[in-house]
């Protein structure tokens, strides 16, 4: 694998989630997420995990995509969500979330730095480890930012999914293609799918009940 052959997918891997998380027009954001999931599937394929690629394509791209669009109400329904997110989060709520997100990031970056620097990784580097770790960290940063910042529930679901993909990339970057890694990612994919489906169904029902698309975070809302 040449460096240039890796740079383009790695670059896209970072640009697509950014597009997904920054877009206030929700159907486009969901499409960007599906494209991102397909790219992740391609990444698993390139990393020599064809089964994981298949699972990512089916669970991550197809089914999660369907769940997200179901949440939007685009698949033939009457109670559609507004397709643009107009919510802004009140400033005073954000501090604890930001602290938590920053602590998370500092811990993750510190540990990865420590592992790479001390050469403590148990699995020898048989893959291009650095691009994976950099892409994983970047995606995780975006996911954390979006999860802490966004108010709209669908966008928080998107943020959670992106965050999960970032963690998966870090996992394979740190531990290589062990069968344990594939098992963990597979469980993670299933969990993310079920979580997305539940979240989307809930969002639809909340919207149908009283037209809300956010949690209306109260005082106890501390992350």
């Amino acid at each position: 694998m040449s460096l240039s052959g890796e740079l383009l997918p790695a670059g896209l891997l970072v640009i697509l989630p950014a597009a997904c998380l920054l877009d206030r027009y929700l159907p486009r954001a969901c499409l960007a997420f599906i494209a991102f999931a397909l790219l992740m599937a391609l990444a698993w394929w390139r990393l020599g995990a064809p089964w994981l690629a298949l699972a990512e394509a089916v669970l991550g791209a197809l089914l999660t995509g369907m769940a997200l669009f179901h949440g939007l109400g685009s698949l033939g329904s009457r109670s559609r969500l507004p397709s643009r997110d107009h919510e802004t989060r009140p400033r005073h709520q954000a501090i604890a979330r930001w602290l938590a997100a920053l602590a998370w990031l500092a811990l993750a970056a510190g540990a990865i730095w420590g592992l790479l620097g001390a050469g403590e990784l148990s699995v020898p580097s048989e893959v291009m480890r650095r691009p994976l770790l950099i892409a994983g960290l970047a995606i995780m940063v975006m996911g954390l930012w979006a999860f802490a910042h966004h108010h709209h529930l669908l966008r928080r679901l998107l943020a959670f999914n992106v965050l999960g993909s970032g963690v998966f990339l870090l996992l394979i970057g740190l531990a290589g293609q062990l069968v344990e890694v594939q098992g963990l990612i597979l469980v993670g994919l299933v969990v993310a799918l079920v979580g997305s489906v539940l979240g989307a169904v809930l969002l639809r029902r909340l919207h149908a009940l009283d037209g809300r698309v956010t949690l209306d975070g109260g005082a106890g809302d501390d992350r």
């Binding site: 811990l107 510190g110 959670f160 963690v167 996992l171 069968v179 963990l184 809930l202 909340l206």
Partner: protein
């Protein structure tokens, strides 16, 4: 920790897996044919605790049972020691009790049978998830079980379908999902550093250092969020207040404690000597005890009182960390026994308390404390159950809560860790304050109300039995403690 590879192991493994996997099947049957009688549910599930008792007997005579299974090239580990067996037994008894209570609850609230049927497969899934957590001995199984538990719990929370329940469930879902990603990142770091996932292997190969510390911090953050330990408890109270009674009973009794169980297992194996971090966790527990007690005292609705009391009582479990880290063997043994006794006693008492509170609310038709006026005459049994359950929560003799807090007190004094003594006393006083506040409201006599809804007798009976069990556990603590001693410290 001796593990004799016995010839009869396959039989025990088969019984264990049958006991773990039967509940979802029973749940599916109950989903198709919703049960209408409590006795039927109890009879259908009674074989599970019997199987576990037999397994416990085997563990007591032959020591630890363990094994592996390998789906698709993976090697997954399980182990059943005295502690795991006792927790499995406790889980099955509480699940049975809440299943029976759920039948009565559906009948009393006249909920649509089909609308409530979703409860059963979710309950089965929760049973398997909890059982797997007690016996799992590798991080992959734990991850899968933790997620299964979280998702089934969210599903059960959503059953009422009201706006409150949906919002609380959505918040719980988001927190649980993010918590599991923090956990997964911690697992990734450990796997990267050691290349293993089995607990025994991790214990042998991890070296104390920055990376292990950070991995443990991430794992702990995810688990503390799921266990609703003090600063991360925000999601718990709305969830408990809006869910069906048997669901909040199970959730407060078992689900939050499963995360604690995983945390202490990992902590003891990976960073047993991290004294400062252990004191930090103890400090969080202290804040939980004080804040939870204070909020329970200030809450205006009965179910909120019970939910805030869960936040406070979980704090006592966190005191185990400083008492186990770097202390003498005698202190550690006392703290270890106290922790599990507190967990079991609180599980029984909290389930009883939730059921009693749910029965009161259902009978009165109102959820505010002020509306309990007059219940002392009309609903003495529910109120007595509430009181018996509070005996354990307050830590009065003779109850599991008393024995547990007594052991904790001894451990704290022996170790010279005086702050925890003050915390224990303050926690007891706060608990007494909010319990007596409930009773003060219930004993108001000048309320001319006569429209109490009659409930199936079984609902009160089950709650009463659980409350009595929490007292009996205090009197007969010798048997479980002896089993714990067999296993010893991890």
């Amino acid at each position: 920790m001796s593990a004799p590879p016995e010839a009869s192991l396959p039989l025990e493994a088969a019984v264990l897996w049958l006991a773990l996997l039967a509940p979802p099947l029973l749940g599916l049957v109950a989903w198709r044919f919703p049960p209408r009688r409590m006795l039927l549910v109890l009879l259908a599930g009674a074989s599970l605790p019997l199987a576990t008792l037999w397994l416990l007997h085997r563990v007591a005579s032959g020591g630890l049972l363990e094994g592996t299974w390998s789906p698709g090239g993976l090697v997954l580990h399980w182990r059943l020691d005295g502690l795991a067996g006792l927790l499995l037994l406790l889980t099955q008894l509480l699940l049975l009790a809440s299943a029976a209570h759920a039948v009565g609850h559906r009948r009393a609230t006249a909920l649509d049978e089909r609308a409530f049927a979703g409860f059963w497969p979710l309950l089965g899934g929760l049973a398997t998830a909890l059982g797997l957590i007690w016996v799992a001995a590798d991080l992959l199984t734990l991850y899968a079980a933790l997620e299964l538990m979280g998702l089934t719990a969210v599903g059960m929370m959503l059953l009422p379908g009201t706006g409150d329940a949906l919002v609380a469930g959505m918040r719980y879902l988001l927190y649980a999902l993010v918590g599991s990603l923090a956990w997964l990142l911690g697992v990734a770091l450990l796997l990267g550093a050691t290349g293993r996932l089995d607990l025994a292997g991790l214990e042998a190969t991890t070296e104390p250092g920055a990376v292990t510390g950070i991995a443990m911090a991430l794992l702990a953050a995810g688990l503390l969020l799921k266990a609703a330990i003090f600063p991360l408890h925000g999601w718990l109270v709305p969830v408990h207040a809006s869910a069906f009674t048997p669901v909040s009973a199970l959730h407060g009794a078992l689900v939050v404690k499963a995360s604690f169980f995983i945390l202490i297992q990992l902590w003891q194996r990976l960073v047993p000597e991290a004294v400062a971090a252990a004191w930090l966790l103890g400090g969080l527990g202290t804040l939980a005890i004080l804040w939870g007690g204070l909020q329970a005292w200030r809450a205006s609705e009965l179910k909120q009182v019970v939910a805030w009391s869960t936040v406070g009582q979980l704090g006592y479990l966190m005191l185990a960390f400083p008492l186990l880290a770097g202390t003498s063997a005698a202190v550690a043994t006392l703290a270890w026994q106290a922790t599990w006794l507190q967990l079991a006693g609180h599980a029984l008492a909290k389930a009883a308390m939730f059921m009693a509170a749910g029965n009161l609310v259902l009978s009165v038709g109102q959820s505010r404390l002020a509306d309990l006026a007059g219940t002392s005459r009309q609903l003495p049994l529910s109120l007595m159950t509430f009181g018996l359950a509070s005996v354990t929560l307050m830590g009065l003799p003779p109850s599991a809560g008393f024995t547990a807090k007594w052991l904790l007190l001894q451990a704290a004094i022996l170790a010279g860790q005086w702050p925890w003594v003050i915390v224990l006393v303050a926690g007891t006083l706060l608990t007494a304050a909010y319990v007596f506040r409930v009773f003060r409201c219930a004993f108001v006599e000048d309320a001319p109300r006569h429209d109490f809804r009659p409930l199936p007798a079984g609902m009160d009976l089950i709650a009463l039995l659980l409350a009595l069990a929490s007292l009996a556990l205090g009197l007969g603590a010798e048997w479980p403690l002896a089993l714990l001693r067999e296993g010893g410290l991890p």
